[in-house]
Symmetry: C4
């Protein structure tokens, strides 16, 4: 593979990695790949519906084999053309990049499943990892990752407070309720299911305190705790909002510069 003609490699690079954002052919190829990923996700979803899978099993299996072939070819091709990219250069560096690891995760479970006997249901669910291949094409996911990186400190602080609240809430609920409801509040880990549902305000209601002490503790912890529990969520949301407005502002600034250059 290493001896391939540089012209062919440059041509594959031009098609796969879209260095020229205005070329029509590579854009169509990108759209086709996005469609294939989406269809794969749709197929995994539909395969879990018993009657649908029973009826179309052959088509589903064929589609999975074709998809696996395409994704494997894509991975090998991207690996092969990596040296063409001036920002990557070495194949090893490309293979250890997050996008390359996602590409590998999209084919590895199915390849391993051919070599070793693995549980089919877990294999099927792991095919859902192909969803992550969309990160390459989605600015939204890229932004989310940037927000996580930038607000990591705030996020960790919020998360730490949430864990403290969860431990505190489940300890108190266990103390108040473990005699009245040994099934649902028999241990602190068991009581944590109630604490998560309550502090996130999901509130399924499958498990609720029944003793007077448990209800009073539950009411206080709910009022105090939901503010704390909303912190990590609020930090991500406000960070993403900031990011979006900054990107828009920088796009507008570029656009204005371009206009002034043209004038």
């Amino acid at each position: 593979m290493n001896e391939a003609s540089p012209t062919l490699r440059a041509w594959v690079y031009w098609w796969l990695e879209r260095p020229d954002r205005n070329a029509d052919g590579p854009r169509l190829l990108e759209i086709a790949l996005i469609a294939l990923i989406s269809l794969n996700v749709g197929a995994v979803i539909l395969e879990t519906v018993g009657p649908v899978y029973a009826r179309w099993q052959f088509a589903f299996d064929l589609f999975e084999r074709v998809s696996l072939l395409v994704f494997t070819a894509e991975y090998l091709a991207r690996l092969w053309v990596a040296p063409e990219n001036p920002e990557v250069q070495s194949r090893r560096k490309w293979a250890s990049s997050p996008l390359a690891i996602v590409d590998l995760l999209a084919i590895l479970p199915a390849v391993l499943g051919m070599l070793f006997p693995l549980d089919l249901r877990i294999l099927r669910t792991l095919r859902m990892l192909r969803l992550l291949k969309l990160t390459r094409y989605s600015p939204a996911l890229g932004m989310l990752l940037a927000v996580f990186e930038e607000e990591a400190g705030a996020f960790l602080a919020g998360f730490f407070i949430l864990v403290l609240m969860l431990i505190f809430a489940s300890s108190g609920a266990w103390l108040a309720e473990h005699e009245a409801q040994p099934e649902a509040f028999g241990s602190i880990p068991a009581a944590m299911w109630w604490a998560v549902a309550t502090l996130t305000t999901v509130g399924y209601g499958d498990v609720t305190p029944v003793t007077v002490a448990g209800k009073i503790f539950g009411a206080i912890i709910t009022i105090v705790g939901i503010g704390m529990a909303a912190l990590p969520a609020g930090i991500i949301a406000s960070g993403l909002n900031d990011q979006l407005h900054r990107r828009r502002a920088s796009l507008e600034a570029q656009f204005r510069l371009a206009l002034e250059d043209g004038a």
Copy 2:
């Protein structure tokens, strides 16, 4: 209709489209139309209450016929006077504007229901579309549409992340629970009902994980996911807030200009 005297047409235009915002007559007509729309919505709501409809069927049916007549006359009149409006000019252009389409949707189902045998319940529910006629008179709805347009990019990004979270949450819940609860978690689409109720924090509790693996996965996905799921909602809310303050600021600026002109 095209040969109607321009004077009559201008007079109808003056009454219907309120070019002169200070005239009292057209304002009363507008209030009457808003009242008629509200009464229509109220009638549809009350008709679904069995005993009420049985008792007052004749009145409800008469009111519907009169309303249909008024709304049809209104649509035809607006179509007829469209050329009077300097911003619209051609009737075709008016007929393809969003407000005109809403006006058409308010009468079309009932008209079609007279010509073809249609399910009466669906027809009744489609009369709810008359609610949208209020958009013409409501700055709030207009603002909401403006927000959707302006924040479309952010909104799509948030929505894309929400869909990914839903697919991921329902896949994991299906894997963990489909053996213990084949009814509620038998397929990924079925598990999505749980995922929507959880990630939006509605939490009905009609379907909850019961296995230890399902509860651990559910707790983690809830804590991680509710922040993501709140993104589209947060984007609309903050966008509408921005819009409201900008409008108020622009109104105040106009007011100040008017004061300075007067001075």
Copy 3:
């Protein structure tokens, strides 16, 4: 009463309305009145607990009579001293102010209950209106009222959108579910209970869609709707936050001015 010596009236005014914020006596009287209101609320709460009321009925009834006497005396005294207040002057003007109406509401039901035979439970609940007497002493409630006034436009817009969402959600749920669940979704008003619980994300789960169409509609309306439904709440919260920061800033500005004056 009109002929009372102006010296006595000025003295009562000085005690009741606290024109001199630094005097100790009137401050203690104010604290006593706040305590009496709080005890009244506590008494109404405890009276509804059967065994507690049965055991202490005499004490509760005595306390209610004393409280009624004090509140009536307070009302009459405030009415009498109104002309002393340079901002109010006439008694009629004071009697039609919001604070005076709240004071009247705190005694009127009990006085009427003595003259006419009224349902005792409703009378007891109406005593809860005495809570509103705390508005006089609470800057928090005053601020909330100011926020409502200032953001009235935004608030109405948000509320209008919420009502539209509720009508739309309950119509769709009624159409999808009224055959499968004639009890819970038998009419649009009945379906509104589900719509309120869902769009506010409370999600009791006492009523949930069971048909496939109902679940799909419910999932979509939940994702789209919770953002809209949170608008009025978000507008109040952000308005109150603004108000709090503005008040703090104005207090700091006053403080700085005072410092500069002293320098």
Copy 4:
């Protein structure tokens, strides 16, 4: 103890209180203490799981004794070295600081449990207070306390409004439902469990209004109330966000100053 050589005391102070933030030894000791606290919390959680405790009772009890010894030694050592700290100086002043009280709370219940016969379950739960020892090492918790201090006024205002809403909601629900559901809505305190679950949007659904009046009142109070109830939570969240950004800005400013000094 008072006669201990100042050199030894200074050496213990250097190890325990980390005056020199760059020294490696004290940092490792701090990490070991954090690990011990975390393991203690983990142990309390696991001890409540019946089979786990039955199997490893000896190890759990040994670990608790060792931990108690270490924490007692730590407390006495910190008390002993307090005069070394130029900001504290006297031992009495250190012993009354919040961090010292938390250190005492971490050992006191276990020490008392040795002297007097106390309920073992309550003792075990009180060991959870050791979690608070993490405050010393966590900037997140320190920030949260600073936010509470700074926004105390806003927080109290929001909390007062929340209490008013809870009292009002439970009074109305009691009036509407106490005859239909004497168990769940038999008194205002009982109805408060429903009010808390509703106004915080947790919505367990174990208790819901069933009468028409109760549902109408419940729907209105839910729509109006959830905005109010979210106030305290919103105030903490926005305060913490402010605090985080201010800290980051001050860190960046320090960093820039350091760079300029170096240049």
